[in-house]
């Protein structure tokens, strides 16, 4: 349940969101209780129904678009209602991260054009945006998830140009991840929970695993049946 659903609903919607976006956002919080109850681990299974990511490279790009939507929505809220005790320096860099994630989201939206999935409705009811620990733990989870998602998706991309784009984004996500991790615990930028000490390799996650983790924060049912695996 949201810590303060009324306040969250009020501050979450950025001033210039389109009507369609606004309705999506309003839907998140207006119908939160019932939607949350209806949520299950089956939401992102490969069955029919839900928002289809498409197939092939389009599916991979929509998959990335979905994750960028999640990150952008999260940091938009973080900056709109900063946690208690945030420093000017932290707010400045978290605002940078918000801008980067919005840039990624808007890029995919434009690049995918008519193939793009719609705006997802997100569910941040488990996040206490007033608390530093809650916000940074979520930021760390999202950034590490994003890095592992791009790392795991690269092998399925067939078009060289798309692979390069994914590469240009994933290293920025890794820079974010390292920064957020260091905010939580200085020196944990590449901790052995994400980077294996024996090989020096960062984590990869398969798309299905990533979507399963992300589904805790996404109300919209995603049909990933067309994702290569």
């Amino acid at each position: 349940m949201p810590k303060n659903p009324g306040k969250q609903n009020e501050t979450f919607v950025p001033p210039n969101v389109s009507r369609r976006h606004f309705l999506a956002y309003a839907g998140v919080f207006g119908g939160l209780t019932t939607v949350a109850l209806a949520c299950s681990d089956d939401d992102n299974d490969n069955g029919s129904g839900g928002v289809s990511l498409g197939t092939g490279d389009v599916a991979i790009l929509n998959y990335a678009y979905a994750l960028e939507q999640l990150e952008a929505a999260f940091y938009t809220q973080v900056v709109a209602s900063p946690f208690s005790g945030i420093t000017d320096g932290e707010l400045a860099l978290l605002t940078d991260i918000r801008d980067h994630e919005i840039a990624h989201r808007e890029f995919f939206k434009l690049a995918l054009s008519s193939n793009a999935i719609p705006a997802l409705s997100v569910n941040f009811s488990t996040i206490d945006f007033t608390k530093r620990d809650s916000v940074l733990a979520t930021a760390k989870a999202f950034e590490d998830l994003g890095v592992s998602a791009y790392n795991g998706a690269g092998r399925y991309i067939q078009t060289a140009d798309y692979l390069v784009i994914a590469g240009k984004i994933v290293s920025v996500e890794a820079r974010h991840a390292a920064y957020v991790r260091d905010l939580i615990s200085n020196g944990s930028f590449a901790g052995n929970d994400v980077v294996a000490m024996d090989t020096g390799l960062d984590l990869s996650r398969k798309p299905k695993e990533v979507l399963s983790i992300a589904s805790a924060y996404i109300n919209t049912k995603i049909n990933a049946g067309g994702l290569p695996s």
Binding site: Q158, A160, I169
Partner: protein
């Protein structure tokens, strides 16, 4: 110059291997039974699936080896740079936390060297030998192991260049299955390193007029200066796949040039990277 030769020689390392492995069927035959070796070397992926699980047209074996040896040479550079620093850091005045962070990075770079050599060996080829390095770059950075700020500046440049180097060759190994994935897994670790080194530099600088962020702003060197400008040229690009990122909508207004440049890291070509590291290679 010698460095360039190393790369030219890669193509002559094992010409028979290329001939043997030009077809998918023969490649798979060649890789059969490789599991045992992998178990011994603890590589977390199976080279046997290099082509099996690849999407699209798999890269040719000689392209894969060229990229792997290129990566190995850059990892040799980083690994030795940090290994040399470990005993020097206390004398440079580096705090304990900083020494620990550099040790983590040094261990990763050494692991990357081992991993890449194992992969190249497993492909039936011979890894390029480690070049002889001069981290003073012929005298330009004479006090690299006595001046902590200079050390961090060179570290930042190596990490940012490494990130760009991997990215610059990704297109050549599209469809490269496990090897592509391993390269991506190294690439993001280099970016984590770069982020931390940049934060270490930020913490030491009282000049807030200089952008020293975990990410790269425009083509700025983050206050290091013209000596390393080549490692940042091109990072100011804001057009991705014909989309001008700066003009995209933000919460209010547009993304703008600064965030647009920061939100996408740019690749460097092989020639650009070789020119950047050439001053550090003496043989």
């Amino acid at each position: 110059m010698n460095f360039q030769n190393i790369f030219n020689q890669i193509e002559q390392v094992d010409p028979e291997f290329y001939a043997r492995t030009d077809t998918r069927r023969e490649s798979l035959k060649k890789f059969a039974g490789i599991g045992k070796k992998l178990a011994l070397t603890a590589i977390p992926f199976a080279l046997g699936s290099l082509f099996k699980k690849a999407y699209g047209t798999p890269p040719s074996s000689n392209v894969v080896l060229d990229v792997l040896n290129y990566a190995l040479t850059l990892e040799y550079l980083e690994a030795e740079f940090y290994a040399n620093s470990l005993t020097a850091l206390p004398g440079m005045g580096a705090p304990t936390a900083a020494q620990n962070a550099i040790k983590v990075i040094a261990d990763h770079e050494a692991a990357h060297v081992t991993l890449l050599k194992n992969v190249i060996n497993s492909l039936g080829s011979t890894p390029v030998p480690k070049p002889t390095f001069d981290f003073t770059a012929g005298g330009a950075f004479n006090d690299v192991y006595t001046n902590y700020d200079l050390f961090l500046a060179v570290a930042q440049t190596f990490e940012d260049t490494g990130v760009r180097a991997y990215k610059g060759r990704a297109a050549e190994i599209v469809g490269g299955g496990d090897i592509l994935e391993a390269a991506l897994n190294i690439h993001s670790v280099e970016a984590r390193h770069a982020s931390h080194i940049r934060q270490m530099r930020r913490a030491r600088s009282s000049d807030t007029s200089i952008n020293i962020k975990p990410w790269i702003t425009l083509n700025e060197t983050a206050g290091i200066g013209s000596a390393v400008q080549a490692s940042y040229n091109g990072e100011e690009n804001v057009v991705q796949a014909t989309v001008n990122i700066a003009n995209l909508p933000n919460v209010s207004g547009t993304i703008g040039m600064t965030a647009a440049s920061e939100s996408f890291d740019e690749g460097l070509t092989k020639d650009q990277v070789l020119a950047i590291v050439a001053p550090f290679i003496v043989g």
